[in-house]
Symmetry: C2
């Protein structure tokens, strides 16, 4: 089912033979992007430690920014005054903004959720602020992303069934209000399925959100600490209740094996701070796992981060040097690790798309599982 | 007077008509560089927040690293194991290492200076370490820079005449010992003139250091808080007692007008953390002065950092965006400001070289002084 929004469309272009994976093209007003795709996270309108042109050069076509963060700082009017998010951050490709439901939970202080919306204290200055579905739509429309997300309530993990059930009612109500409040015809609006770790509630939510009808569907509330098997099982179940022709976006998952397994289930889009965040912690994604450069065994290791990698960091710098930079908190160290980790994700997405197009995703998945050493 | 070291030479190629400024070519084993030159500071083997290839692209031909810092972290053996400083840091152009006299003063704890050397506590772990002229030479030879500096004692400002006089004796003794201890024929060795703010002591030091004989001459102990007029007056005086054919290096001066005024006096080389350090403080060098982006008046200022600048930061990003990044402590903000400030220095050096070659440095100096608004 393609979109009812002007300028937004999703077209499946290839399907894998032995899995539910598919390739597609997402058309937005800022251009087309290939799926499955991974969106680097530009929370505050910058992919941390990387120039926008480098994000593009690394092969990414779309980034995610966070409406909650940008609303609080620098403020919607500053971004709007620049001519919108794309011009503000120097990124002319598509942008998706997350609404901030997750950030209200993880960053807001003294959070009070009512039917009306979420009241909480700003993590910057402690000032009490109020976010409603309608305000979230207004903020995101003014920021000007190509795809915007409904406001939802995110729950911690683990959480009891009853609490999840109550929350779902609220989420579905908010989703419908977002749908009603959304005005910009050139922006796509995605709904978000919740339901915690309960299969029947996931089903209920997927049905309810689909019934409201959105341009695409986010799978929220995952990657909150649950075992990976739960995630995959519930993702598979949820997808079976979502319209097959719309893009499906698994929010917050960004580890290579998790992404690959989810692509096999039919997920089209991902975002995660994982590759960039672990970079700033001194960690490099390598074939089959990760290494933390803070470990002293790398002090005089003159190999590249990953000998099968062709990124900028791996083509001129050693583990010993990157370790030295990380230990000295030199910005270049975080830059090199970010470039490397993003390259790993970008290469993975390209391999996944190629494997699906060739109908042999199973082989690639087998190799990834076999290589996994952690 | 050209060098007595293999592979090192300095040749004056042009002189200004109305000032003592000159252009030259410094030949090192890692290639030729044009003077007057400014060396960005790569204290820990990285110009902070910038890739080495970008340093080159910005027009810089030589960088400075700090032997004191690299000795303590990651350790000489790690750099040596990588094949030397150039390969360690991915910079194939010339490198100069400072010996660390200044860092002993500014960073060392519980410093005890004797004839033998400097004993102090490491600023990393408080461990007591000992640095002698001979050890400084060994460290710098093993690090493998193209130009190395003698070990000297740096004094705070202001300091009494008697104390400076005593220190000079030590400095000259250490300089002679460095000369004797230095072995690598492919590395140039520069002596350092001290003498505080006392003209007669500067003269004495210049004569003593020249008598020992070095490949080039550093002017140390400036930019320690003294009025700029003192610096210029003493630099001029000092230069008159140094061999005219050798390169002269004013250590630690990097503000645009200070650099230009010193070039007019006949200085060939500069280094300073100034442009990169103020970048990390949110400050941009602009025509005639500087601006600090933390100032709220830039929140919705959609102009570029400097409208006459053609750097990467100025060609795609606004003051409002850079301010947002700085306020959010986003690495990209420090990167953009560093790129911009280094570009300003690089452009200045190119303009100075052109003006000297055209014999009209006076005009450029006049414009710089007239534009100065702080």
């Amino acid at each position: 089912m393609s979109s009812n929004r002007a300028e937004f469309a999703f077209r499946v272009t290839a399907r894998d033979q032995s899995t539910a994976a598919r390739c597609g093209v997402l058309t937005t007003r800022s251009g087309d992007v290939q799926t499955p795709l991974f969106m680097p996270v530009a929370t505050l309108a910058s992919v941390k430690a990387v120039r926008p042109e480098e994000v593009r050069r690394l092969g990414f076509e779309m980034v995610l920014a966070n409406a909650y963060h940008l609303w609080l700082r620098p403020g919607v009017e500053v971004v709007e005054g620049a001519g919108g998010l794309h011009r503000f951050m120097g990124w002319d490709g598509p942008v998706l903004t997350d609404s901030g439901g997750y950030q209200v939970m993880s960053l807001g202080g003294d959070v009070k959720i009512t039917r009306e919306g979420a009241s909480f204290r700003s993590h910057h200055d402690g000032e009490r602020v109020f976010l409603s579905p309608e305000l979230s739509m207004e903020i995101q429309e003014r920021l000007g992303a190509d795809i915007v997300m409904t406001l939802d309530e995110c729950l911690e993990y683990p959480v009891g069934r009853e609490r999840v059930g109550e929350s779902l009612e609220l989420c579905h109500d908010w989703a419908a209000r977002c749908r009603d409040a959304h005005r910009r015809a050139d922006q796509a609006l995605f709904g978000i399925v919740q339901g915690g770790m309960y299969g029947d509630l996931r089903e209920e939510s997927a049905r309810a959100i689909s019934r409201i009808g959105f341009d695409g569907y986010g799978l929220g509330g995952f990657s909150v600490g649950e075992p990976r098997e739960f995630t995959l099982e519930l993702v598979e179940l949820t997808l079976s209740f979502l319209p097959g022709g719309a893009p499906r976006y698994l929010m917050g998952v960004g580890d290579p094996v998790g992404v690959a397994e989810s692509v096999a289930l039919g997920v089209d889009m991902f975002d995660s701070a994982f590759p960039t965040r672990i970079a700033r912690n001194g960690t490099a994604i390598i074939t089959g796992g990760r290494i933390n450069l803070r470990n002293s065994r790398f002090s005089n290791d003159y190999a590249s981060l990953d000998d099968s990698c062709e990124c900028y960091a791996c083509s001129g710098f050693t583990r010993a040097y990157v370790r030295h930079l990380v230990m000295s908190r030199e910005i270049l160290g975080f830059h090199l690790l970010t470039i490397h980790n993003l390259h790993q994700l970008s290469r993975l997405m390209a391999e996944l798309r190629e494997a699906i197009a060739a109908g042999c995703l199973g082989d690639l998945l087998g190799r990834l599982r076999a290589n996994r050493c952690e």
